[in-house]
Amino acid sequence: MEMFPLVVQGACVRRRGKLLVGPVDLTLGGQGSAIVIGPNGAGKTTLLKMLHGIVRMRDGSLDWACPLAEAQKHQAFVFQTPVMMRRTVIENIAYPLRLTGVRRREARARAADWAERVGLGSILERQATNLSGGERQKLALARALVREPQVLFLDEPCAALDGRATREIEEILTRAAASGTRLIMSTHNMGQARRLADEVIFVLRGRIHEFGPADEFFAGPQTAQARAFLNGDIVE
């Protein structure tokens, strides 16, 4: 089933009358990794949540190439602060499968396989709430990838992780992208953006200021704000 292109037109998110994001106009194809960058408070997280459907739009439209209900089944989201369900590692990873009616035994087998792939194979029965930051993020990734989504949204998945954990997470993401999962990810880390991005979405004050191929963006940003941001200046 083809989900892309994703076409967003005039989409806005408001809370208590205040415009948080928008109006957003964006068309995303189905290949590669789109990295959302921008200063703190620019609306990166809200934009991702809006695209994923966790945050409701007040105006505009967001259309996948397939029916919305179908599209929602093939997406996953990894939060900046991973939510650990009060269960063991394997039960956490198996949970999304159980939601779709996969039998317990099969769900656990597939979860164990994913745990192994992300390096959590030796702590399957540990309580998830007792994991370190890096392990939590890996678990969140395995839990998101276990349903083999076509689109994976990630909200700064490596924030607060050390270099080694960041590299391990990036390797998992690279493998996921290589196997056909479309990554849409926000990050503060410009090095990470350069390493992973095929496309860059530069967000400022809730609006998309620039969107295009990563090479072009990093070589010569079109707007003064994007240039200042890349230079490390304070952008408001």
Binding site: R126, Q127, N130
Partner: protein
Amino acid sequence: MGDLWAGLGQAFWLLATLDADLVEITLRSLRVTLTALVIACAIALPLAAFLAVRRFRLRRATIAVLNALMGLPPVVVGLVVYVFLSRAGPFGVFGLLFTPTAMIIAQVIIVVPLVASVAHQSLRELWSDYHDLLISMNATQFQRIKALLWDGRRALLTAALAGFGRAIGEVGAIMVVGGNIDHATRVLTTAIALETGKGEFAMALGLGFVLIALAVAVNLMIHWLGRTESEGRW
């Protein structure tokens, strides 16, 4: 002070000799209370999870009413249940008045708001953690409630124990609807009230100590079974 020591001695004696009346009353107390608790939990816990998960127009009002009902005067509950179950009442035909079933009904009405309110407090916090995750996973309303009830089970145990404490110590309502009939509806609390009325303070205190020991034992057993204090477990 003398009565206190005499009560302790009486309690010890009743337990040591496994007094037949005491055993009967204690078992009835447990049966009525635990049955009421199970029924109350079956109603209150899903209700608490539903109130945590679902947004609807009268939600806040429902929660406020539930919290207010925690302070429901038991004797009034007993009176209302009495009216409903009495011969002239709408359910008089079932002949439930002055039976353990009537006592269970009264206890359920008293315990449901308490268990639901305490459980709702815990589940609301858990839901604020899980909200985005479960929505992101496309969990249905039923699946969300199920996840909250399962993952919040340790906190729900506390809510159930609070309900047990309220039910086992309840006297007003079950006295009204049960009638404190010997070998039929007499339980520890109503027996204590009766013995106190007769001036048999030692016996009343003895029964009181048994009641306290029972409540503590059941709490400890549930904690132990639920491994609430085990490190790193929920």
